[in-house]
Amino acid sequence: MCSTPKAEDKGLPLLEIEELRIEFGTFEGVSHVLDGVSLSLERRGTLGLVGETGCGKSITAKAILRLLPEPPAKIVSGSIRFQGEDLLRKGKQDMRKVRGRKIAMVFQDPMTFLNPVFTIEQQLVDVIVAHDEGRQGGRPVSRKEAREKAVALLRDVRIPQPEERIRAYPHEFSGGMRQRVLIAMALSGSPDLLIADEPTTALDVTIQAQILKLTRDLVRERELSVLLISHDLGVVASVCRQIAVMYAGTVVENCSTKQLFRNPIHPYTQGLLSSILTFSTRKARPEGIKGAIPDLIHPPAGCRFHPRCPKAHELCRREKPEAVQIEKGHWVRCHLHSGLSKNG
Amino acid sequence: MIRVVEGMSRLNRWKKEHDSQIRSFKLTLYTLGRSPLSLIGFCLVAVFLIMALIGPMIITYPGDITGALHLDRKLSAPSSSHPFGTDEVGRDIYSRVIMGTRLSLQIGLIIVFVAMGIGIPLGMAAGYMGGWVNEIIMRVTDIFLSVPGLLLALAIVGALGPGITNAMIALSIVWWPGYVRLVQGKTLALREEAYVEAARSIGASKLRLIFSHILPNCMSPIIVKASMDMGMAILFAANLGFIGVGAQPPVPEWGAMISTGRNYLPDHWWLATFPGLAILITVLGFNLLGDGLRDVLDPQSRG
């Protein structure tokens, strides 16, 4: 079941995740981390995935590239279609060809995500050469050419004096610069989809703004599609035109950014907004959402949000809600609105 | 009936109060039990200790431990009456190996305890007092650690003369610097901890600080190190015994036995083989146990 309309004239969505269910084996039992995640992203689209820590957004992102270690993690059911193919059915070698080349990922904390004992040059060149391996036809790229390409990439992400700085080690860069290097690395294979997992969380606010601007520029220049994951609604809103709100392993609301701020439907989304916006709501102080995220080894029955929901009723405790369209392009999973018709 | 209910509710209260301790104890058992190797180590050490304790009761030829001569039986291969065979003067090797267990236990305990007795106070003094006291103690420790242990022991025994006592003295001298380093590091770190500051600010005396705050927190790595050192100390004592500067024949020390047995190779292989197996099993047991204890007590450190 799709949560965004297919009626747009972009053809097949670039990425389509359908009812993804993932379990994690832990010391204390099986954790049901993803309980039917569905979302879709069209070409040149920008989708933000928002939620609290622990809601499963990072796991969703890693699942797309099959980066979850499959003994503790188990993909129970669902599909992840990229350009029509189900990535979950691909073999290891095929998956390796997708990583970095079709879909690339930018991670959260640039200090820990760059190898400390190798220069930026070595790491970038190896990645560029690796991307070239899968390419058909033509001469394989030489290390010299790869190096030139690496310097060009650093220039694209606005790192000053790239020819000199490329020979430095990660610890010689500042946080913002390191993040740009990670972005450069991700772009080196000219991917169609860029997944950014909390790309600004580890950065200062001013640097955050720079990186977000860079991201918007790159999306425009390279016709990239972006899946941006963050717990910060503000960050997501500044880059993405679509937003999917996640809670405890499910997407509870999916709509355009404008619709989210103008007309939030799901009680969780409303809670999120009221926690941050003070001047545009009638309330004087921010309100939190009472309670805490549920224990995913023994998740609540029915709608997983019901223990914290101020509007929960009997049905919520028993049955999981289906996705329902409130207005055009705006879907919610909530029993409060299941009665509404599909045209808002 | 009321008594039972009372007892049950008291038990439940106790459980609640000590919930976190119960949980960490369960985790300890889980971790220890999870590793079959540390269980094996525990069993081996247990066997070793039992042998050492009941040794005199299970040996077949008590007279053979030292002096006896049975030249008619000499150099006979392993058999039902002599499971490990007999040595060059006819003594039963099985009895001697078992008694060697007791001897090795004594040797190991003395070396480790003397080393701890010197090393721990020095380490705490160095770590706690800092300044030039620390400098001097650590410098001296470094000097002792700059020479490979067995060589230093050899030099010391070479000066003092061969014999089991001198070997133990030499090995204690080789071993104490390790404890100084360990304890000094820990003490230095703990000294800066908040709770020590707090205790100091309410006027606790230096000695009290050391004994009730710093020492308990050093105990975990010390216990781990001591259990591994037991095995190593016994091994080194056997090394010295083999060279000829440790225990002297006819004492049934495993290393010395192998040294003598070496002269009767390869035909009479049993003289050298069984004492060596005893060393191997003992040291292996202590090493495995020490490893297991480290996983439980001191997981951040690495060997």
């Binding site: 400390p116 080690y169 690395m185 | 001296v140 490979p148 095995g231 050298a272």
Partner: protein, 324 residues
């Protein structure tokens, strides 16, 4: 480092003078007369007061003079010069073997985690440290030299084989340089067993720590990033993970080198290897102080140099610790 050497010499000196018994009498032998003993005492400077003896000793050390061996009646320096190359050759082959094989096993064990390769390597890495070196040597001698006669029993060369001309005094290198294949083969077959036995505990320790470090690094974020960028597993493991894991492994190598130097005492005795370990044992049994002190200082120095090399190695591996 200078302070350490100074301190070491002081300690060694103190040890040697603490001894009971009269070294002069010992050197003179049981039949010596009082006069002969006095002559020897004077010759070795044993009649002077202790601090004066120490100063004499230090002066000698700075010149490279370790005194005279009571047992061999030669200068200790000459004895050491004769025997040191054999020990160094043995130790270098051993440590080289332990590093290469240990790192290899560690990597394989971490990659094929929880398979029989891993379980075997882990068992070996724990048991290997517990095996008494001298006993293992003897057992291997029995099996391989006596029973199956695959390898020689001891010594550096068979008596019939002429040693190669002394260039480096390392038989393996010299025979190669001179294309003396017979000597090379013979020296090689003789060094296999003692080097293997000597390397065993180090091999076990290095395997162990390398495996543990590899596993730890493989869980790190930057490895996940490299995987996400599409790099091959081979490249990730052997280049990007290994270099990180080698840093703590290097520490273990340094430590184990020290233990290995001590182990030469045992292995050289078992295999009749004419090195300074064997020399030290004979000296210790004989209460030959000068010789024992000399060996202790020389090997202590060797260990210190090795530690310096380890420090340099850190700088090469980890750019974060370099000061430039």
């Amino acid at each position: 480092m200078g302070v350490t050497i100074f301190g070491l010499s002081l300690i060694v000196f103190v040890i040697s003078r603490v001894a009971p018994g009269d070294p002069a009498k010992l050197a003179a032998g049981p039949d010596a007369t009082e006069e002969m003993v006095e002559v020897i005492r004077h010759e070795f400077g044993l009649d002077k007061p202790l601090p004066y003896q120490y100063i004499l000793y230090m002066k000698g050390l700075l010149r490279g003079d370790f005194g005279k061996s009571i047992r061999t009646h030669r200068r200790v320096l000459d004895d050491i010069k004769d025997y040191l190359p054999a020990t160094l050759e043995l130790v270098f082959v051993s440590i080289g073997f332990s590093i290469l094989v240990g790192v290899l096993f560690g990597v394989l064990s971490s990659v094929y985690r929880d398979t029989w390769i891993d379980h075997g390597a882990r068992f070996f890495s724990v048991a290997g440290v517990a095996v008494p070196m001298f006993w293992m040597g003897i057992m291997l001698q029995i099996l391989l030299a006596a029973k199956f006669q695959v390898l020689p029993l001891g010594g550096r060369l068979d008596t019939m084989v002429v040693p190669p001309a002394p260039i480096t005094r390392f038989f393996l290198i010299d025979s190669l340089l001179l294309a003396d294949w017979r000597a090379f083969w013979n020296a090689g077959s003789h060094i296999i067993l003692p080097a293997f036995v000597l390397s065993f505990p180090a091999l076990a320790s290095i395997t162990r720590i390398n495996r543990a470090e590899m596993i730890e690094v493989l869980h790190k974020d930057f490895i996940l990033n490299e995987k996400a960028q599409g790099l091959s597993n081979r490249l990730i493991v052997w280049k990007y993970t290994l270099k990180n894991a080698l840093i703590p492994t290097l520490t273990m190598v340094g430590l184990r080198y020290g233990w290995m130097l001590g182990g030469t005492v045992l292995v050289e005795t078992v295999f009749d290897w004419p090195g300074i370990g064997h020399y030290a044992v004979s000296a210790a049994v004989y209460s030959d102080f000068q010789a024992v002190m000399g060996v202790t200082i020389v090997l202590g120095l060797n260990f210190m140099i090795a530690n310096l090399l380890v420090d340099l190695g850190y700088g090469m591996l980890d750019p974060r610790v370099r000061y430039d």
